[in-house]
């Protein structure tokens, strides 16, 4: 019955599997959903969704899948009928009640249920009606009727499942949206790597035991250097001009990066549109160092993160400058400077706040051939970090062609 819903979820990218299906079946068997769509929504959400980034997708899938149920009530009726049968077996009924039941054929029951489902807005709390609420009915566990009341009557509590799903309150947590500082910090944290470095002041238990054993039981203490963060990052950001709309997200990235304590070294540089020989120390394009200086000072294992929209007039890629950024006919083209950076750093990425749909054309496509390009979203930053740490690109998103 709920299998189509599973495939709906999978289609939308919530990777539910057999384990989730079994868990949900177990929960439903235990009656945790209180036999209502409302309860089912909460139970299913708790068991099928594993991350708040998927809550919005789940809500949408739920809405799409069960919207029909709400209006036509057909599929739900199917299930209700089976519940009704179960109830008959479980409960001890008086002979009169049984006789009453026998009078009604399943078709009649189905018809009435459908009617009720269509009349959801109407309260029907007369406890003695045979599919009504109020527990005196042998079908009290059906829950359908309780559902009906919740839809029509009791507003102001949690609202009904479909209403909740429809509110899409988790849209802000989707992982394909542009990031906030905290999410960026989380993504950047994945960049950390450790190495044992420095003075040996940590007790190495295993080595101590081995050394003591070799020493015929005389205690021999072996120490080792503690683990320290070993990631060095060079971050270069495009400022001004076409990047102005992204100033807020850039400042968040900057604050996330500069607060990150898990880098051994973080150098932040600025450039405008394209790198012309020099990377600047301030957003006002002052100070800083030239590309040859930078590549001489920092090793190949630094991770280079370029951030920019990579959108400019085509000629700006071919302006020739010297290393100080002055125009010079025999200097190097902007694109060449970029290639020098890309060649020096073994691991490099370009983060682009522009939507991916625009990447196929113009200067973006040119620069995406130099640097592996990722969108500046939670997902993109995560994949960029994966690329930086493993040198492996997650299929489908990177624009390296």
């Amino acid at each position: 019955m709920f299998l189509p819903f599973f495939y709906e979820l999978r289609r939308r990218g919530v990777k539910v599997g057999a384990q989730e299906a079994l868990a949900l079946a177990g929960a439903l068997r235990a009656g945790l959903h209180d036999s209502g769509l409302d309860g089912f929504y909460h139970v299913a959400r708790a068991l099928l969704v594993h991350s708040e980034t998927q809550l919005d997708t789940f809500d949408q899938a739920f809405l799409a899948h069960f919207k029909g149920v709400e209006t036509a009530g057909l599929e739900l009726t199917q299930e209700l009928l089976s519940w009704l049968e179960e109830a008959r077996e479980r409960r001890d009924l008086s002979p009169e009640e049984l006789a009453l039941l026998e009078q009604l054929d399943p078709e009649e029951i189905r018809r009435m249920l459908e009617e009720r489902l269509r009349e959801q807005k109407e309260r029907h709390d007369g406890g003695n009606r045979w599919v009504g609420t109020g527990g005196t009915s042998p079908f009290g566990n059906g829950g359908f009727a309780r559902e009906g009341i919740r839809v029509g009557g009791k507003g102001g509590r949690q609202g009904m499942a479909l209403m909740q799903a429809g509110a899409r309150r988790y849209a802000g947590y989707r992982d394909d949206l542009v990031l906030d500082t905290r999410q960026m910090a989380v993504a950047l944290r994945k960049l950390r790597a450790f190495a044992r470095d420095g003075s040996p002041d940590e007790l190495d238990v295993d080595e101590s035991i081995a050394a003591t054993a070799r020493n015929a039981g005389e205690l021999e203490v072996v120490t080792r250097p503690p683990r320290r963060p070993n990631t060095r990052v060079v971050l270069a950001m495009d400022v001004g001009g076409s990047m102005d709309p992204y100033a807020a997200v850039m400042s968040r990235l900057f604050s996330a990066a500069s607060h990150a304590t898990h880098f051994k070294e973080l150098r932040i540089f600025y450039f405008h549109n394209c790198v012309y020989g020099k990377l600047y120390a301030t957003p006002q394009l002052t100070g800083g160092m030239t590309v040859p200086e930078l590549t001489a000072q920092v090793g190949r294992h630094h991770k280079l993160v370029m951030v920019g929209d990579a959108s400019m007039a085509p000629y700006e890629l071919s302006i020739r400058t010297d290393a100080e950024g002055h125009y010079k006919a025999d200097g190097l083209e902007g694109l060449t400077w970029l290639m020098q950076l890309a060649q020096h750093f073994e691991r490099n990425v370009w983060l682009n706040p522009e939507p991916m749909g625009t990447w196929r054309t113009g200067t973006i496509s040119v620069i995406a051939r130099v640097f592996p390009m990722f969108p500046l979203t939670v997902e993109g930053l995560g994949e960029a970090v994966t690329h930086l740490t493993r040198g492996r690109t997650v299929k489908g998103v990177a624009a390296r062609r």
Partner: protein, 282 residues
């Protein structure tokens, strides 16, 4: 082992208010006997949830605060090699009895407890990436073997495991699949009113309303780097109460803003936006 339907249902406690989603998640975890993974903004009561579950079910609560250096092994047991080495060298105690040097961690304690307990694994994301993976088997089967002695520790009663995460790291899929997940929403004004009433009974109604209004105005102020959360509101009202403040509004004279905002830049930007540039009294 088939899940046994538990008759007990979690409904929150007097001081811990829940909603249907949270109750459903807790009841799923109780019934299916799976760990409950709770995420949410800092200060929304993730840790308190475990206490509330323990309280409402009448079980003992064991906590395991995870740190960046915590290894999965520490939760099971620790074999104190150094003490044993020391004893063997300097001759204190019976070195041959290895069990004397094995101390149980929180998970081991929870398994060997004679009754069902609630185990809180707090801030699981603080530890190394591999940490949750290393616990998969133990949390699934609720048993582990002490390799030094060959003893097997099997849970007599499967503990109720509550795991909190601040989302500092992605948790591995295999781990997530085994958990019941709940994301604690930020409470809406209505629930917040009830939460405040629970924590500050008898609070002057107008002050409560004004404080809530200021609080939500601040939360909706997008320039904040760290938005205030429930626990900060509760603290702030406590300060207001103890200082006899009777009315508050969002302007330059907002008292004790330091209880709500924890970052220097945030205080500055609030001052710019609401206080005509003057710093409020922190």
């Amino acid at each position: 082992m088939t899940p046994v339907p538990t008759p007990v249902r979690f409904k929150g406690t007097d001081s811990y208010l829940t909603n249907e989603g949270l109750q459903a998640a807790v009841n799923c975890a109780l019934t299916l006997q799976r760990p409950l993974l709770v995420k949410g903004e800092p200060g929304t009561g993730k840790t308190l949830l475990a206490e509330a579950i323990a309280q409402s079910l009448g079980h003992r609560l064991l906590t395991w605060h995870v740190k960046s250096t915590t290894r999965a092994q520490d939760g099971l047991y620790v074999y104190d090699t150094v003490q044993r080495l020391y004893d063997s060298r300097f001759g204190d105690g019976d070195v041959r009895d290895i069990r004397r040097y094995i101390r149980q961690g929180p998970l081991g304690e929870a398994f060997s407890a004679p009754e069902r307990v609630v185990l809180l694994i707090d801030e699981v994301d603080k530890a190394d990436l591999e940490f949750p993976n290393d616990l998969l088997h133990e949390l699934d089967r609720m048993r582990f073997r002490v390799t030094e002695t060959g003893d097997e520790v099997v849970a007599k009663h499967r503990p109720v495991v509550v795991i909190t995460s601040n989302n500092e790291k992605e948790l591995p899929d295999a781990f997530l699949r085994r958990c019941v997940f709940h994301f604690i929403d930020f409470p809406d004004a209505d629930l917040m009113r009830r939460i405040v009433a629970v924590h500050h009974p008898g609070l002057d109604g107008t002050l409560a309303e004004q404080a809530l209004k200021v609080f939500y105005e601040l939360r909706n102020f997008t320039r904040l780097r760290k938005r205030p959360s429930t626990s900060e509101l509760i603290d702030w009202i406590a300060v207001l109460k103890s200082q006899g403040v009777t009315d508050v509004k969002l302007d330059e004279s907002l008292p004790f803003l330091g209880a709500l905002l924890k970052k220097e830049q945030d205080l500055v930007s609030v001052a710019e936006a609401f206080g005509r540039g003057r710093r409020p009294r922190a």
